[in-house]
Symmetry: C2
Subunit: 253 residues, 2 copies
Amino acid sequence: RKGTGFGLWYSGDGGHHLCCSIPLSSLIKTSGLKLRFCTNETQATREKFVKKLQGMGFDISVDEVTAPAPAACRILKERSLRPHLLVHNDLVPEFAEIDKANPNCVVIGDAAENFTYANLNEAFRVLIGMEKPVLISLGRGRYYKETDGLKLDVGAYMKALEYACDVQAEVVGKPAKMFFESALAEMGVPPQQAIMIGDDIVNDVGGAQRCGMRALQVRTGKYRPCDENHPHVKPDAYVNNLAEAVDIILQQL
Amino acid sequence: RKGTGFGLWYSGDGGHHLCCSIPLSSLIKTSGLKLRFCTNETQATREKFVKKLQGMGFDISVDEVTAPAPAACRILKERSLRPHLLVHNDLVPEFAEIDKANPNCVVIGDAAENFTYANLNEAFRVLIGMEKPVLISLGRGRYYKETDGLKLDVGAYMKALEYACDVQAEVVGKPAKMFFESALAEMGVPPQQAIMIGDDIVNDVGGAQRCGMRALQVRTGKYRPCDENHPHVKPDAYVNNLAEAVDIILQQL
């Protein structure tokens, strides 16, 4: 699905940090580097996400994952916001501890089948009824591919509500600077000592670089040859796949 | 619903022309003025729209109505476009004569209940599969009010597809200049001799003025007091209601 996730790889001696999106996580960790997985997944809780990756052979636990929903929860608590949720059913447990009575903002995620006409109208009515509408979006992706074809992502529905309410959404998740900063803070690592590895030229590479990190693009997954001519974003290096990225970084330790 | 419609009122001697949105149509016509109803209604055929207005006491026939769907049909024919329709079921008959096989564009209207997740994904796939996506939108309204509450209008869903496909929709209907020009051409009247009456500051008043017409805003329907401080659009005059507009224009004949 959507750029499944990646990690930050960290050597305690102030060396490199790495963000990756496929296994090899054990190899990284045994080298004494810190690793973190950052995902824009909002169709499932972190628990479910981690189980899926464990099933694929990843050495990963829930507290190694940076994801949009917990980041949104922090914002909601800090600003005493009570959300109306327009999200996937499987994501709702992430908001279990959040007061949702008498909502004063809308949180939109990749709600998939929950993006019904009725649900969109309902979220819209909550926003338009506010003096200053607050819309928090768990990502700004345009679309993604599933086995049964391309699907509109949360960004498209975010734009619909933005236009209808004449408001600008606050985006949580990649490529938001604050999202990468959270991941770094959770590891206790400065951006100069971290390396991001991802397949998405804008969300992974561009977002990390804007935050002061270096970033490698893997030529797998979402990668397209035309990414190498991107008008604004240039990775620090290309690698053919994650294994190659890990090799290079381990060699330089 | 959405600025139900209005008309162009025309005196054959090169006098005034009027756009209105409620009855009084008989009074106007018997004064020798030409009248035309311009609507952004895309939830019904013109036939259905006219029947509804006749039921409310309007003297109106189908050939006096300028509406987005027939305007879109003209564009489709001129440019040999075969649409994938994302519209209300009741609007489909307006496209009866249009070839819809192997679509090379998408036409979006206020599809209401047809704005399902599946239908939006399907329209998106048609667009993203094209080398240069063509999206034709029957209006750009943000929202409107129905008896059971506010509803997102076609403009919101248009924005979602625009963002997902990185494309700009071609908007048919008010406030598009071409839409007003069609209405004028259908009456055989130059813009300088036409007056628009409407309740929507942007779609009715702004659109007509950009086309060289004068425009009155009625202080009824969609009108809001804050419209009188609109940053870009200023009507040629305000009237308290349509009856007052008709009075003033008849007096000046």
